[in-house]
């Protein structure tokens, strides 16, 4: 009986932390606000996103589990994720995904078709995930997640 209560308390605490982060000055950033120009041969981050690089933000989206067991990250997308069964590589993700590194490792973050809010520190620029080789251009690190 004790364990579920503790888990519930943990989820509640995480939610409260997220709320606190949101309330504590974290800017709300929408997927639609990430880019100012999206061309075939590259994109340009918006002034808003560039200005928030390295700062706490809150984003709303749909969270998918990592594709590989060793991955320590999740993928936040604008729409619920459905990927090709044969070619589960980064090629099948939408172009504007945000990679989420949670502050503490947990498997509680799976949203399916229910949107979530993710609070974390925004990082822009190419980075290869050391464990998986997954390339990300936008990340939320030290992140917490709560149902919307």
């Amino acid at each position: 009986m004790i364990r579920p209560l503790r888990a519930a308390a943990g989820v509640l605490a995480a939610g409260l932390l997220a709320l606190a982060a949101a309330a504590g000055g974290a800017e709300r950033l929408r997927f639609a606000d990430l880019y100012q120009a999206s061309g075939v041969l590259g994109v340009k981050f918006s002034d808003l996103a560039a200005g928030l690089d390295g700062k706490p933000v809150v984003m709303r989206g749909f969270l998918a589990p990592p594709l590989k067991a060793e991955a320590a990250f999740f993928v936040l997308s604008q729409k619920p994720v459905s990927v090709c069964p044969f070619c589960q590589s980064d090629a099948d993700w939408p172009m504007d995904i945000v990679v989420v590194y949670p502050g503490s490792r947990t498997d509680a973050y799976r949203s399916g078709s229910t949107p979530v809010e993710v609070s974390g520190v925004l990082q822009l620029g190419a980075k290869l995930d050391a464990a998986t080789g997954f390339l990300s251009q936008i990340r939320l690190v030290d992140a917490t997640v709560r149902p919307e």
């Binding site: 041969l41 340009k44 619920p80 459905s82 069964p85 070619c87 590589s89 799976r110 078709s113 251009q137």
Partner: protein, 585 residues
């Protein structure tokens, strides 16, 4: 001869001892491989365990390998990641047609395979155009004909350009590893003449974890450039790195090796390359890149003399310039949008990328540029989103892209109309399990949509408006529409209606990586939950293993008849081009 007899004797002895030789030693190319005379391939023998170099023996028609081929295979005592030995000899060619008996032994057990090396007649076709409707099943084709031509009293008011061809055959699509293929090994069969395995391109899939070291077979692109100095074009509306277009140049066990595949396109000397997939051409430091290194392939292609275009307008402008002989068209960072979204609904990513060209225009411009080369050309055209939309059970979008494929075929037929020098082939690479059951009639009064499904005489005919000048019905949300259902699916909500607000997403990732019905569609009036018949790990519908239809016209089309294996498509092409004629080797 003595060695062959010895090998056979050893085989029988092994069988008598209960050993299964087929499992113990693997030989690539596989048994019953058909190999174009003079084409290149890698020979690999995989032994079951670690064997001594002196015990690893291979003969071809009884002669030791080094005697038969004039070269010595490399013995690898322990393969990378595998505690077993192998013999590898790369870039083998066999010029003399006939049957070859290949026997491998580790001193204890023996395995033998037989290859057929075939020659061709002299060249009959100047050009070859291979159209692939990715995943196109008979139902796509029938629905496309109904929507584009119309039908009353059981008679169509016209037909498809891909129907009106002189020859037709059914193709078997199975691969080395399975009765079900994906687009990689199926396209690879067309472009190499060899069967392969799911996810593999231009190789026999070996056992080592390295995806780029598998035994290779030569691609059509390499052959026509090497043997006939022909031009090559690859046109798709998916990412150019995707399996079907990549099959023209790639050698990899894993189709998702997009970064290496871009390099393979660059190194192949392909003359015209068009589609989506720009993100893997950009160095990783560029925002929007999906490359894992800092190579700028846009710059490399430009340096190699390619005109680079990213919009419909730029495409037409570059093509109008008679000096354009090499063309790279990248019109989307990922997959391009289908015709329903581009021309009608403006959904998908059309608002972000409004200047994507139509496949028909891409084909016309490719033909114009390739025609500037003196020695003829091979052009592969893929309407790839037929598959991309069939996976998520979005048959309306898939059928509209089938019509688009057909319009592109019509453009190619127009191109060759005044000349009888071009072989046109139109086929699919595999099917999807969808079928036309009747119509859905909103006039039937019932709260349940299933009661509106009319079958047999109650199906009647749909009431789509007549097609526009481009062959597309301007509306799909009509009151009596086609009832098309898929046979294999994850949990999803069936709405019995076209998805006008963007491509269908039937299932989404749920707990524990299992897929659950996307409840976005739950409240669509009349929607019903269809409980899936696939494992819960399946997010979408899957390929099916039925035969695909191949139609053909032009010099060399006479071989298209009856039932053929998919590798025969390659043979038909190289025969029409005379690539195995003595003079071509």
């Amino acid at each position: 001869m003595h060695s062959t007899i010895l090998a056979l004797a050893l085989t029988f002895a092994a069988l008598a001892l209960g050993v299964t030789p087929a499992d113990a030693i693997t030989i690539y190319p596989i048994d019953r491989a058909q190999i174009l005379a003079g084409s290149r391939f890698d020979l690999k023998i995989e032994f079951d365990g670690v064997v001594g170099a002196a015990d690893a023996k291979v003969t071809i028609d009884g002669a030791d390998l080094s005697t038969a081929l004039g070269r010595t295979a490399t013995f690898v005592e322990r393969e990378n990641g595998v505690a077993a030995s192998a013999l590898i000899l790369r870039d083998v060619t066999l010029a003399k047609p006939g049957r070859y008996a290949v026997v491998a032994s580790d001193g204890k057990i023996v395995r033998s395979v037989s290859w057929e090396v075939y020659a061709t007649g002299s060249r009959r076709a100047r050009n070859v155009i291979l159209f692939i409707g990715d995943g196109m099943a008979a139902a796509h084709r029938t629905a496309a004909r109904i929507l584009t031509a119309g039908i009353t009293e059981g008679k169509y008011h016209g037909g498809l350009a891909m129907d009106a061809m002189t020859n037709m055959a059914l193709l078997g699509t199975a691969g080395v590893d399975s009765i079900i293929t994906d687009s990689a090994n199926s396209a690879s069969a067309y472009t190499t003449g060899h069967k392969s395995s799911v996810n593999a391109l231009g190789v026999y899939a070996d056992r080592t974890p390295d995806t780029l070291d598998d035994p290779r077979v030569e691609t059509l692109t390499s052959l026509v450039k090497r043997a006939a100095n022909m031009a090559v074009g690859v046109v798709t509306n998916t990412e150019v790195e995707d399996a079907t277009p990549a099959a023209m140049v790639a050698h990899t066990r894993r189709r998702s090796d997009y970064d290496p595949i871009v390099g393979m396109f660059h190194d192949s000397g392909v003359d015209v390359l068009m589609g989506g997939g720009a993100a893997h051409f950009l160095p990783k430091s560029a925002p929007g890149s999906r490359r894992k290194d800092d190579v700028d392939y846009v710059a490399k292609f430009r340096a190699a003399g390619y005109s680079i275009v990213t919009t419909d307008r730029e495409l037409k402008s570059a093509t109008a310039d008679p000096a354009t002989r090499k063309l790279l068209g990248l019109f989307h960072p990922s997959n391009m949008d289908g015709v329903l979204d581009r021309k009608f609904l403006k959904q998908g990513t059309v608002t972000s990328f409004p200047e994507q060209p139509d496949l028909v225009d891409m084909v016309k411009t490719a033909l114009a540029v390739l025609s500037r080369h003196d020695n003829g050309f091979v052009l592969m055209v893929e309407s790839g989103l037929i598959d991309k939309y069939s996976h998520p059970l979005d048959w309306e979008r898939a059928v509209m892209d089938t019509i688009m494929l057909d319009r592109a075929v019509a453009a190619a037929k127009e191109f060759v109309a005044t000349r009888n020098d071009t072989l046109i082939l139109v086929t699919a690479d595999h099917t999807h399990g969808l079928s036309l059951a009747g119509t859905v009639d909103d006039a039937v009064k019932s709260p349940e949509m299933r009661d509106k499904v009319g079958v047999y005489e109650k199906a009647g005919f749909p009431n789509y408006p007549p097609a526009n000048d481009e062959g597309y019905p301007p509306r799909l949300d009509v009151s009596r529409r086609l009832a098309i259902f898929f046979s294999v699916f994850p949990d999803y909500y069936e709405t019995f209606r076209p998805k006008l607000d963007g491509p269908f997403v039937p299932a989404v990732v749920g707990p524990d990586k299992s897929y659950i019905a996307n409840d976005k569609y739950k409240d669509t009036p009349g929607a019903v939950l269809r409980v899936g018949n696939l494992p819960r790990s399946a997010p979408q519908g899957v390929h099916s293993g039925e035969d695909v239809v191949l139609t053909a016209t032009g010099p060399g089309a006479d071989r298209v008849r009856g039932f053929l294996d998919n590798t025969e498509v390659f043979r038909i092409i190289v025969d029409a081009l005379g690539l195995g004629a003595p003079a071509a080797q």
